[in-house]
């Protein structure tokens, strides 16, 4: 059995805004082994990005960890000081952001921004750092690296900039790469290239990846494990096969129905999920998905369901599953 790289237990993260406490992450647990590719899926505001930031100790003001633990590669992230976190960031764990257009500083050259992270975490001198940055640019598939190093971000295309971001992220060969919607802002053709590049690099330097996205199509092709998030909670998680061929949660089912498929028959319509996500300032006591759920029951509105283990790795939090178990236990006469 491989080594555990990341272990998040009962994590709660809240943003303390003037309007009140926003529970962005409400009791989630995640476990990742070395070499895993984990997909976190959910719509905007479901807490998937905050999960990523928590791992790096990057939760923006006014948010903070309320309770729970994050252990990464032997470090207890939740109790580390800012100074200790700085040594890990960009070194053992790196992140690529959604919008490559704004994630690079416009007033410094590409070379400067890549070498910055090298000077920070390694003992390279100028020449070595230059050589390494050339190597990194070739690694991420940028041609004419010498010329690119001297260019400013605005002189590069979006896909090119995302490659630069990846180069920065990979500079110190991190154990874990977090990709926060890395392709959302890019053209579809570029999307595929970037994803392919990430998978290729993963094999080359043997790192783990957390891929955060709202696009189920992307996770299907890349991830070993998938966690579906809704309103700060993981409502279902399992292997890609579990999620795609045996979805249990009504939200997961809804998500799957709402993606277009080529092999579907023509008359099969796409089914959008009705309604809007809950107001995170006043989260309901019960299942957050209940108001939008077609099979909603009375209890769903009052109480959050516990997880049901469908198989070894497949878990899901839904009262329907509890009901099934209940019926089975009571003889199924209802």
């Amino acid at each position: 059995m491989s080594k555990t790289l990341l272990d998040i237990n009962n994590l709660k993260v809240s943003f303390f805004t003037p309007a009140g406490e926003v529970k962005a992450i409400n009791d989630i647990s995640i476990r990742m082994e070395e070499g895993d590719v984990l997909g976190i899926v959910g719509e905007s505001g479901s807490g998937k990005s905050v999960t990523a930031y928590s791992i790096m100790g990057l939760i923006p003001y006014p948010g903070r960890i309320v309770s729970g633990t994050i252990e990464f590669n032997g470090h207890k992230i939740h109790e580390m000081t800012e100074k200790e976190l700085q040594d890990i960031r960009g070194n053992e764990v790196s992140i690529i952001f959604q919008d490559p257009m704004t994630s690079l500083n416009p007033v410094y050259t590409v070379g400067n921004q890549i070498q910055e992270v090298l000077f920070l975490h390694t003992k390279m001198d100028k020449k070595q750092a230059y050589e390494r940055s050339l190597e990194l640019l070739s690694l991420v598939g940028i041609n004419e690296p010498e010329r690119r190093l001297k260019q400013y971000p605005h002189e590069l295309s979006g896909g090119m900039r995302q490659r630069v971001m990846i180069a920065i992220a990979l500079a110190c060969e991190p154990k874990l790469l977090i990709a926060d919607e890395p392709t959302t802002a890019l053209d579809v053709t570029i999307q595929a290239q970037i994803l392919e590049l990430m998978m290729e690099l993963k094999k080359k330097i043997n790192m783990s990846i957390i891929l955060i996205t709202h696009d189920l199509g992307i996770v299907a092709s890349m991830c070993d494990k998938i966690a579906v998030m809704y309103a700060g909670k993981i409502v279902e998680s399992g292997t890609a096969d579990d999620i795609f061929y045996n979805p249990q949660h009504e939200y997961t089912k809804g998500l799957l129905k709402s993606i277009p498929k080529l092999n579907k028959k023509e008359h099969e319509k796409l089914v959008p999920i009705k309604g809007v996500p809950v107001d995170m300032l006043n989260p309901p006591a019960g299942c957050p998905f209940a108001p939008r759920c077609d099979s909603c029951m009375k209890i769903c509105l009052r109480k959050m369901p516990e997880y049901t283990n469908i198989s070894d790795k497949h878990i899901c939090a839904c009262w329907l599953l509890q009901k099934k178990g209940y019926e089975a236990a009571t003889g199924g006469d209802r």
């Binding site: 809950v278 209940a290 099979s295 029951m297 516990e306 997880y307 878990i315």
Partner: protein, 349 residues
């Protein structure tokens, strides 16, 4: 992932597993009240204490400047003989004699100047000039700037290019120097006009100095407004409702008025409000260097300038207009900031 195991609980009530109806589901969805742009803006403005205090101060100063002088026993040009150079709340000998005789004498709150004119009423009139300049100049700038900018932005292409080139040139002209130059020279033709051409006598009533200040401001200061309006229009033009209006055959004028200007109104209000203090600023500067309204009409700038000579003996003559002008500008600045925060959060500094 989570390996939390859940032993099935058998204490559950069967009825819990009955389907919930729509109304039960809806009760969970907390809907925030939806409010219109204006309602929301005014609510935010009312909540802004600083802006509301500023507004109150402005209203107070307006009463002080426009209404009080009419009821005041002294007038700004009246030279009271024997009452020259009085200090704060002082009376002249003659006035004291009258008081002793049982007559009621209205006090000179801020004393009198070297010509025996009551400073309080002059302060009121000076504030009136400042406010007038600020309000009228801004209104002129608003009209010229928004019309020009709207036309330029709406039609785009060559028209826009030429119109904006003109704006660019005016923008690079050092405005204050040209304003000084206009103020120095304009009064001659204006006097001519008032004296010789029928129907222009009102120029003399309003005052040549004031008119030339209005002309100068409206000649130079509208370019900033024109740029802002043009920018607004350019971005609004791309909106679908404009395309829809065009498709329905609405005329150019109607689209500009109905769809574009109404949507650009937030930034317009904010920019205009912030224009007022800057016009007042410039007017006070001009009258301080001796170019504003002509004597005996006082202006806060000229009052401060005249007080400079007697600064050792009569510092209050300087402080009164100095404090007044600062309060006026500060109030308008703060009100403008409040309006901006309320109606146009995007347009920060």
């Amino acid at each position: 992932m989570s390996d939390k195991r859940n032993p099935l609980s058998f204490q559950l009530d069967v009825s819990d597993f009955l389907p919930a109806d729509e109304s039960e589901k809806q009760s969970l969805v907390v809907m925030r009240e939806s409010v219109s742009f204006w309602k929301d803006g005014f609510r935010r403005l009312r909540k802004n204490k600083v802006a509301m205090v500023s507004l109150a101060v402005i209203i107070f100063i307006m009463i002080f400047a426009f209404i009080l002088p009419a009821f005041y026993p002294y007038s700004y040009e009246q030279q009271i003989r024997g009452s020259e150079n009085l200090g704060i709340m002082q009376y002249s000998k003659e006035e004291l004699a009258r008081k002793a005789a049982g007559e009621k004498v209205f006090p000179h709150f801020l004393g009198t100047d070297s010509l025996g004119r009551d400073i309080t009423v002059r302060l009121m009139m000076g504030s009136r000039i400042s406010l007038l300049v600020g309000l009228v100049a801004s209104a002129i700038i608003l009209v010229i700037g928004s019309t020009y900018g709207a036309i330029s932005g709406y039609f785009g292409g060559k028209i826009d290019m030429i119109m904006m080139r003109i704006v660019d040139i005016i923008y690079t002209v050092p405005d204050i120097l040209i304003i000084i130059l206009f103020s120095v020279t304009l009064k001659y033709p204006l006097k001519d006009l008032a004296a010789n051409v029928k129907g222009f006598a009102w120029i003399e009533t309003v005052g040549v100095g004031l008119i030339s200040i209005f002309i100068v401001f409206s000649l130079l200061y509208w370019v900033g407004m024109a740029r802002i309006v043009r920018g607004q229009i350019l971005s609004l033009k791309e909106q679908d409702y404009v395309t829809a209006a065009k498709a329905l055959g609405a005329s150019h004028g109607r689209i500009i008025r109905k769809h574009l200007l109404t949507n650009a109104i937030g930034p317009l209000i904010v920019t205009t409000t912030l224009q007022i203090p800057s016009a007042i600023f410039t007017e006070s500067f001009l009258s301080f260097i001796g170019l504003g309204v002509s004597a005996p009409m006082p202006s806060l700038g000229s009052m401060a300038s005249q007080a400079l000579n007697g600064i050792r003996s009569y510092p209050h003559r300087l402080m009164a207009p100095a404090i007044m002008i600062s309060i006026i500008i500060l109030s308008f600045n703060l009100l403008g900031d409040g309006l901006r925060d309320a109606f146009d959060p995007k347009l920060k500094d």
